[in-house]
């Protein structure tokens, strides 16, 4: 079972690759749109890559509720368990 920090790190790598955001900025309390300047098209890519990386399904209705990095990490942890 990966730790919360491990999930955050992997997600940060995805956000960095998709949207060019420095991985260190991708902290749990950060809002994707407001703090990290990630737009909805990048979120589509990030969600897709996260599904592949973590082996989880993130349907559109759930994806739109993932406002912060913490929301996404928590969802991934729940879905992967």
């Amino acid at each position: 079972m990966p730790t919360t920090e491990e999930v955050r790190t992997d997600l940060a790598e995805i956000v960095n690759e998709v949207a060019g955001v420095p991985a260190d900025d991708v902290q749990l309390d950060k809002s994707f749109t407001d703090d990290l300047d990630v737009d909805s098209l990048s979120m589509v890519e990030i969600i897709y890559a996260a599904e592949e990386k973590f082996g989880v399904s993130i349907p559109d209705e759930e994806a739109k509720n993932l406002k912060t990095v913490g929301d996404a990490v928590a969802y991934i942890e729940r879905a992967a368990s």
């Binding site: 690759e17 737009d39 909805s40 098209l41 589509v44 890519e45 897709y48 559109d60």
Partner: protein, 337 residues
């Protein structure tokens, strides 16, 4: 008795491409007078810096003829040799006659088989696949394929999701017999379940009825689109189609020289590039930056731009893939003329 059947060339190839770009350049600042947006947002969201909108004299016919003449010159093919004209467009506003017929006659391709196809942004790739088949079956010798649009006629200038994207232009290719294979197998299809994602807002009969009744409504039908699901489909499902087209042609990502997807959105182009894991050395068509999204015209215009600038060279392998309203899609590997 046995029926005679046609036999064609062993191989076909694109012999020349040409384009026509409308005179009027519309920059993001102008778009921002119609929608509440910014140059920065538009560039980030789509990669578009400017686009071209056709003036009244730059009709579907006029732009197609100009693009076709360029393509024929470069192909070194005379109008009289063209025996088939395929025009892909969704903005020829007559149900009939097809604009291909008058294009054929204006060009001097007298008596050519001529028809329009409606395959949205996949139109050029659909047309190329058909042309390849016709040349190899013997139905045709030299086929003119045109992708042409006046999308600005069908765009709601105040729709924040589309006003900055759609633009006008024409691109053409002459396809004919070749000693070497020049057009790979097409991988094509449709997904009608997702038809609502990109659609004309209403049919003409409803629009005309409204026009009589309520003068205040914007009753000219326009093209609407659900951007995010279309982006997802294009970035991932279409990347799989593109990979299939490479495979069908026996070309690996490492062998590929050039990648020209339909110029829908620079973000889609980038996402597909990543999903296909193309090596950095692959030259990518980015004509959308100064041309906007011209649907069926976008691929031949982007091909012309790369060849004219020298970024892409004759004889190189190029993956083209179109995808759009329908939903429809078609991709193939071609050898650049």
């Amino acid at each position: 008795m046995n029926l005679a059947v046609s036999r064609g060339a062993s191989f076909s190839a694109i012999l020349g491409v040409g384009g026509y770009r409308p005179r009027r350049i519309v920059d993001n600042a102008e778009i921002c007078t119609y929608i509440d947006s910014s140059d920065e947002w538009i560039r980030t969201r789509s990669g578009i810096i400017e686009r071209r909108w056709a003036s009244a004299d730059e009709t579907v016919q006029m732009m197609s003829v100009a693009a076709a003449r360029r393509a024929m010159e470069r192909a070194d093919v005379e109008p009289a040799q063209i025996d088939t004209v395929i025009v892909s467009t969704v903005t020829h506003l007559y149900q009939t006659p097809a604009v291909a017929t008058t294009i054929a006659s204006e060009l001097g391709a007298t008596g050519a088989a001529a028809f329009d196809i409606s395959a949205a942004c996949a139109g050029f790739c659909y047309g190329t696949a058909m042309a390849d088949s016709f040349v190899r079956s013997g139905a045709s010798k030299y086929v003119l394929v045109v992708g042409v649009e006046r999308l600005s006629d069908m765009t709601n200038k105040h729709d924040r999701s589309t006003a900055f994207l759609f633009a006008d232009g024409a691109g053409a290719a002459v396809i004919g017999p070749s000693d070497e294979p020049g057009i790979g197998p097409v991988v094509w299809g449709s997904d009608g379940e997702q038809a609502p994602l990109i659609q004309q807002t209403e049919p003409w009969d409803r629009a005309l009825v409204k026009a009589e009744g309520d003068a205040g409504d914007p009753h000219w039908p326009t093209l609407r689109m659900d951007g995010n699901p279309v982006f997802k489909w294009a970035a991932y499902t279409m990347s799989k189609t593109a990979a299939e087209a490479l495979d069908a042609a026996g070309v690996s990502p490492d062998d590929l020289d050039v990648f020209v997807p339909h110029q829908a959105n620079m973000r889609i182009t980038d996402a597909m590039f990543r999903a296909l894991k193309l090596p950095e050395k692959v030259v990518v068509g980015r004509d959308i930056a100064y041309q906007g999204n011209t649907s069926a015209a976008s691929i031949p215009l982007a091909l012309e731009a790369l060849l004219d600038s020298g970024e892409a060279k004759s004889g190189q392998t190029c993956l083209i893939i179109g995808f759009g309203a329908g939903l429809v899609y078609a991709g193939q590997v071609i050898v650049l003329p």
